[in-house]
Symmetry: C2
Subunit: 403 residues, 2 copies
């Protein structure tokens, strides 16, 4: 098999940890696989370089930042390659450019446009391990670019796609994706496998592990993604396409998002386009709207409730108050003490009653549901934040995720 | 004018010193020049990375070392470019590869084969300062290479040649080339200018400032080289072709080399090719021979004296003793307590009596001359090491270099 293994900053945090990574790669090689390794900068290195740049200006040129920051991954790649060679595994390190990663020219958050895997293929054919500096590529103009947050994961997924690798393993300090946050529900189980779509809906469970950008790319390129720990031998969680998952559980996991605030608007003038005006203005100011519920109020006016990230509440409030001042909305209230609990599972598509069980569970615990939204594979409920943990544990048990 | 300015590791040793370099570049820009800057890694950085590599093996792959070490100069180049941009001077940093530097593939001590200055020209034409990571290039095969010791100076000289720059300024912590070592003779004067050939012969004076490799390249490419201090505004020393130097002094400087040892062979069998056999064997074992003197001894045998660097004396001794054991040489003695004093000056070509004055000066001080060798522009004498400083001071005064 061709396996792409990606190790993040913590996994390559010091020289001994890089040796540890070399040992793991060695093990994979001895199992008879061909390995391409993607590495991040040693943890702390990127922040150090950013601090250096900010010594001169708060707004360094983005292209220069890319030149600066891309050096960290090169160092790790060379060191890992040296460690592998020293163990008797022929190895060659490569910059993103040399690995064939071409991006657009949006410096510090470039998007991968194409990958030419021919040099990597040639080195693998020679029996070499290929160690690629993650997080970086080269623009059409020939300048080094970086891919932004989670960039090394993206490098790994994109390389796995271009190489038609059998597996792309993302090593972190967490050993997989759990049915819910184990700090809230100790009975949470690590999943063996999950579909791309479920993983995307469970983002809040996986955010510390995988960014949605990487999962979306894996889905697009049909890359089998495994997230596992570089500090243990435990099997991780396979994220793959729905068809590959043999036994699909009704519900895969329970996600909790505490970073939400609710905006409740009452007495909204019932003129065509007012919702459009409001949400356009919010979008123009980079306020992200999650759930929206509109209900008919008394006297022909409507009520409009929506949620925004807590960090964007002030921006949202400023805009809403302009509408209030203009008389288009009679009252607005804001509530930061809410949270969003979601039930996710592809099994919902073919089974009825999944949502009903969620509402029953909330009712049994006397938890009031303020807002509901559903998708094909998800039911989300906004509730009072103080019931967050109770809700998660009750739902986890109701859907028998601890079994 | 187009000016290439090179700043070594001490000059870019920390963030404030990089700011200092930016200020100096700014000054040059304000004088109306176009500037290409070549930078080394921040001092200590390269040694740190080598220590990292040696954590895994004493013999890291040279190509991987190049990948590792080349990152240091990239960081400095990006930081200087950020500092310049922050001061309002549009600037772009480049790796050696992007600056068009193509080398052979002898990793860790590559030789520059060609430079394509077109990208640099394009950026200069746009009004940018071009900041190039020194010490590095790219092989025909596309792998990053480094140029070995003094590599950033070589980058600077080679770029100046390719750009047909008017001047290549090498900034260090020394403010130029002196008529002799000022620690030995406080009356030593900084020279305003000196020819390439004189500089090459005065290597021991300039070794801390410039390596011969760089001076040879400057001569070959006809680059006007200036060595000056990054910590003061004092004018440096211009190293240029002989024709450019208006007033050629008889003697330019006095060099002292304490790193020599003498090997004296007596009773060398007088067969054809014996000297050739001996010196071939020494060369094969990487022993560098400097001066050689052969004299006819009694009974048809010859005497052979030569000097080697002190660090190579043990190797030389091993080989010589093999010849002694084979009966081809009857006696060998070794003397580490010697030094070589040289008088250098292009004026010697057209003036007689320069060497005679040196011998008279030694005689007046009762210093015995053990060996003499001369070239068109140099007279070297091997003397007892204990007279080293006395000889230098007497000669410095005899040729009126303090005037």
């Amino acid at each position: 098999m061709v396996i792409v293994q990606k190790f993040g900053g913590t996994s390559v945090g010091d020289l001994d940890r890089i040796q540890n990574v070399a040992n793991r790669v060695s093990k994979t090689l001895k199992e008879g696989h061909q390995v391409v390794v993607v590495v991040s900068a040693m943890s702390g290195e990127t922040n150090k370089l950013i601090a250096y740049a900010e010594h001169y200006t708060a707004t360094p040129e983005r292209s220069e930042l890319d030149m600066l920051l891309s050096s960290g991954e090169r160092v790790t790649a060379a060191l890992l390659s040296i460690a592998l060679n020293a163990m008797g595994h022929p190895s060659i390190s490569m910059s993103g450019r040399r690995a064939g990663i071409v991006t657009d020219s949006v410096h510090t958050k470039a998007r991968i446009e194409s990958i030419d895997p021919s040099i990597m293929h040639a080195e693998l054919a020679k029996g070499n391990v290929v160690v690629v500096a993650g997080f970086q590529g080269v623009s059409e103009a020939g300048q080094v670019t970086t891919l932004g947050r989670g960039g090394s994961d993206l490098s790994a997924v994109a390389l796995a796609g271009a190489l038609e690798a059998d597996l792309c393993e993302i090593y972190t300090d967490v050993d997989g994706i759990y049915t819910t946050d184990p700090r809230i529900e100790p009975k949470a189980r690590k999943m063996d496998q999950i579909s791309y779509d479920e993983m995307l809906e469970l983002a809040s469970l996986g955010a510390k592990v995988l960014q949605n950008r990487s999962v979306e790319l894996a889905k697009k390129l049909n890359v089998n993604l495994v997230t596992r720990s570089s500090f243990s031998d435990a099997e991780g969680t396979l994220i793959t396409k729905e068809e590959n998952i043999m036994e699909q559980p009704l519900v895969s996991g329970i996600a909790l998002d505490k970073n939400q605030a609710r905006v409740s608007l009452g007495g909204v003038i019932d003129r065509p386009g007012i919702a459009s005006d409001l949400f356009t203005r919010l979008a123009d100011n980079s306020v992200n709207i999650d759930m929206i519920i509109q209900t008919l109020g008394h006297d022909g006016k409507t009520n409009l409730d929506f949620t925004v990230p807590k960090t964007e509440l002030i921006d949202a409030q400023t805009i809403v108050e302009q509408f209030v001042a203009e008389g288009e909305i009679s009252e607005a209230s804001y509530d930061e003490n809410i949270c969003k609990v979601s039930i996710v599972g592809v099994g919902m598509k073919s089974h009825t009653g999944v949502a009903a069980k969620a509402f029953q569970t909330m009712a049994r615990e006397n938890i009031n549901i303020m807002m509901i939204s559903t998708s094909e594979i998800k039911v989300s409920m906004v509730i009072d934040e103080k019931y967050a943990e109770l809700a998660v544990r009750s739902l986890h048990s109701a859907y028998e995720l601890d079994k």
